[in-house]
């Protein structure tokens, strides 16, 4: 199943949750926020929300800035 993460195409298994995706990406322990098709997915819903074909996700975190 094709989705887009941070502007790049990715293959994920059907039924993958946001939480699952984050773990796959090695971001299980990282403080991030996730936008799915421009809607924020609250952390609490990461385990339940499944990504679907064509979803565009943004996964962001904090970096040094002024």
């Amino acid at each position: 199943m094709r989705i887009e993460v941070n502007g790049e195409p990715r293959e994920v298994a059907p039924g993958t949750t946001v939480r699952g995706l984050l773990e796959t990406l090695g971001l299980g322990q990282t403080r991030v926020a996730v936008e799915r098709n421009r809607q924020i997915v609250p952390r609490a819903e990461h385990p339940s929300v499944e990504v679907t074909e064509g979803d565009r996700l943004e996964i962001v975190h904090f970096v040094g800035g002024g």
Partner: protein, 262 residues
């Protein structure tokens, strides 16, 4: 003397120096500089996770562990929409209502887009954010931002990273005389005396990043800035002497030897 506390929204701060976390050589330098600055509030940017990169050391982890108040910014946003989106994401990451709002007008000056900043500020205030907007030194815009409900206004002293210092103290003075919320100079400070000058004008705080991170010795400059902000604040509270064109002696006029005078 009563404690001199700065209140922003619900936050009470003893340090009036706000520092950024960008442009440091590495985490060690970042750590040491923040430490030397004595800052309690530090800004961070929101960016896409680089999926190809190894985890590396976490800035945010360090900041939280040391108890810094994290102030996410919307740096890099050129529309109200992007800035609002970025602020919402920041809140989702950290459950903080604080946001340093930046909506930029162009890439050369990094001056704010005033109408877009006002628009984004309205939305974010409505959504319950504690909004600290980066703005020009225009007194009218500063007042509008306050009317909208921003928790502070952050006029620039000069272009971000320019190090030109306070280009127009007159506008800052007008902003200060009419402001009912804290006024924090954001951007343009180049060296210690610039920071002291801002505080002497009556500003409630100073926010900087490049002036420290870009110095040849960032940690030493961080210490300089800490002292400069404290010095400027104390001088403001101490009530400086009036300026005079002519001199006034500091030693007694009486009892000088020398017959022609005594």
């Amino acid at each position: 003397m009563e404690r001199d506390v700065l209140k922003i929204g619900t936050h009470e701060l003893a340090s009036r120096l706000f520092v950024g976390t960008g442009k440091y050589r590495d985490m060690d330098e970042t750590r040491a500089a923040l430490e030397a600055s004595g800052a309690e509030v530090v800004t961070v940017a929101v960016r896409r996770v680089d999926l190809s990169a190894k985890g590396g050391e976490s800035l945010i982890g360090h900041l939280l562990e040391r108890g810094y108040t994290v102030l996410p910014n919307t740096a890099g946003c050129y529309t109200a929409e992007d800035a609002v989106r970025t602020a919402r994401l920041a809140r989702e990451i950290l459950d903080t209502e604080l946001v340093k709002l930046e909506v930029l007008g162009d890439e050369r000056t990094l001056f704010p887009d005033v109408p877009a900043t006002l628009e984004a500020a309205r939305t974010l205030v409505d959504e319950g954010f504690t909004v600290l907007p980066y703005t020009s030194d225009d007194p009218i815009t500063a007042r509008r931002l306050e009317e909208i409900g921003c928790a502070a206004v952050m006029p620039l002293a000069a272009p971000i990273g320019s190090g030109l210092g306070i280009r127009n103290p007159y506008n800052l003075e007008i902003i200060l005389q009419n402001a009912g919320v804290p006024v924090i100079v954001d951007a343009g400070v180049g060296t210690a005396s610039d920071a002291a000058e801002a505080m002497e004008l009556g500003c409630d705080g100073v926010l900087m990043n490049t002036a420290i991170a870009g110095a040849q010795e960032p940690v030493l400059m961080a210490s300089a800035m800490r002292k400069a902000v404290e010095a400027g604040r104390e001088a403001f509270r101490a009530g400086r002497i009036a300026k005079r064109l002519y001199a006034t002696a500091s030693s007694p006029l009486e009892g000088v030897i020398g017959s022609e005078r005594s």
